[in-house]
Symmetry: C2
Subunit: 223 residues, 2 copies
Amino acid sequence: MLKSLDQKPLVDIVEEKLCEYLSSGKYYTGDQLPKEQEIAEQLKVSRNIVREALSRLRMLGLIESRKKKGMVLSEPQLFNGFERIAHARFFSDKKIKELLEFRYVLEMGLPELLYRNQENIDFERLEDLAGQYEKATTSKERIQFDREFHATLYKATNNETIIRFVTILTPVLEFQAKTENSESAIPLSHAELVKILKSGTKNQFRNAMEKHLKNKIEQLKDF
Amino acid sequence: MLKSLDQKPLVDIVEEKLCEYLSSGKYYTGDQLPKEQEIAEQLKVSRNIVREALSRLRMLGLIESRKKKGMVLSEPQLFNGFERIAHARFFSDKKIKELLEFRYVLEMGLPELLYRNQENIDFERLEDLAGQYEKATTSKERIQFDREFHATLYKATNNETIIRFVTILTPVLEFQAKTENSESAIPLSHAELVKILKSGTKNQFRNAMEKHLKNKIEQLKDF
DNA sequence: AATGTAGTTATGTAGTACATAATAAAATTG
DNA sequence: CAATTTTATTATGTACTACATAACTACATT
């Protein structure tokens, strides 16, 4: 089969060149970029194209722009791109399954950080949420309290990047939580999880978490 | 302090509306979008703006465009945005630290998947890489073989999403591997790791991995 | 029927014009 | 002269037009 030699659109090339340029070492956070017009002239493309490329970088948070000031390099927000496409309906079952696995891996690696930042754990809130989960009557409530419980665990990591990632990811994966057999009892309750986290060892907690998630991971096979 | 009420640029609004529109349920993968001109007229903005917004979505892989065909909705590539900004020099020490932690969590959660897909593990290659690592003389070689060793582990998960994420992430984190004291012996060698993976339990492997990564995690405190 | 040709269409690129807001410079005022 | 207001300047933001390009359609030719 012959290669399709559809040449890239100019935007892609310009975007690439800009990224290269910005990461080359000449620029530091806060530095201001050349004017759009200058970039356009230098690359011999229309200002239009340059603006499209810059618009992409702006979306990622790599640059910010002010009316007269120009554009300045800034620290990019980490999962801006991911955030925008984080709708379950965009993804195939295969990708959803992989994302479920991704979260499972995260969840099971979490104890490493939790046992390093144990003083950050909000036990009171965890216990409260565990109780509310038990008292919940509707599936919607259970999903809500379950989400908050796990979110509270993540929060204790004190790692904004991980927290943001999971925060974006969770709603994508919950679309199918409704279809899951949410009536089947959780093999190990939230309350028990907290208890072990409070006084057990890291290995004990990991094993407890594994049990807690058993149902969720079992259904991965159905995909 | 008063809110800065700098109204969003139109591109941001249009992009948002397009995302909303595309995720609303009317469109399925493969469907073709309205023409740029129509979108522009409907939203009462210039075609220019619409193109900028579409260009962003194209970058994320949410849409593809053909010359006469128009633009069609497609399954987005997952970490396209992240990939572009994945240069260490864009990130603050804090973010780098968080990303190191992120990978650590992943690495420690990995056994869950490995022990589900044990038949996928390429033990031969792992052993080979473990050996090459030992024989390596330069720091550069060691980094290379270490990277490949862990990549081979990830590969066994058979989870393209996780693999891609780590593949993007790794070079970002390696910039500082050069500054790390790479001469200090690893507490538990690659070879030992493979041996345990081959015949040990999941818990044993997890503990081994923890030991293996001990040095890397220790230096997180320096950040 | 297979090939070739011309026309149509939606994206891709270029260019111009002007609005807007932030800054700097100049002018005004107390 | 200091403080404030006004005016000019500048780079981004938005709009519009024009044409190039490639892919598709339909018709024409052999």
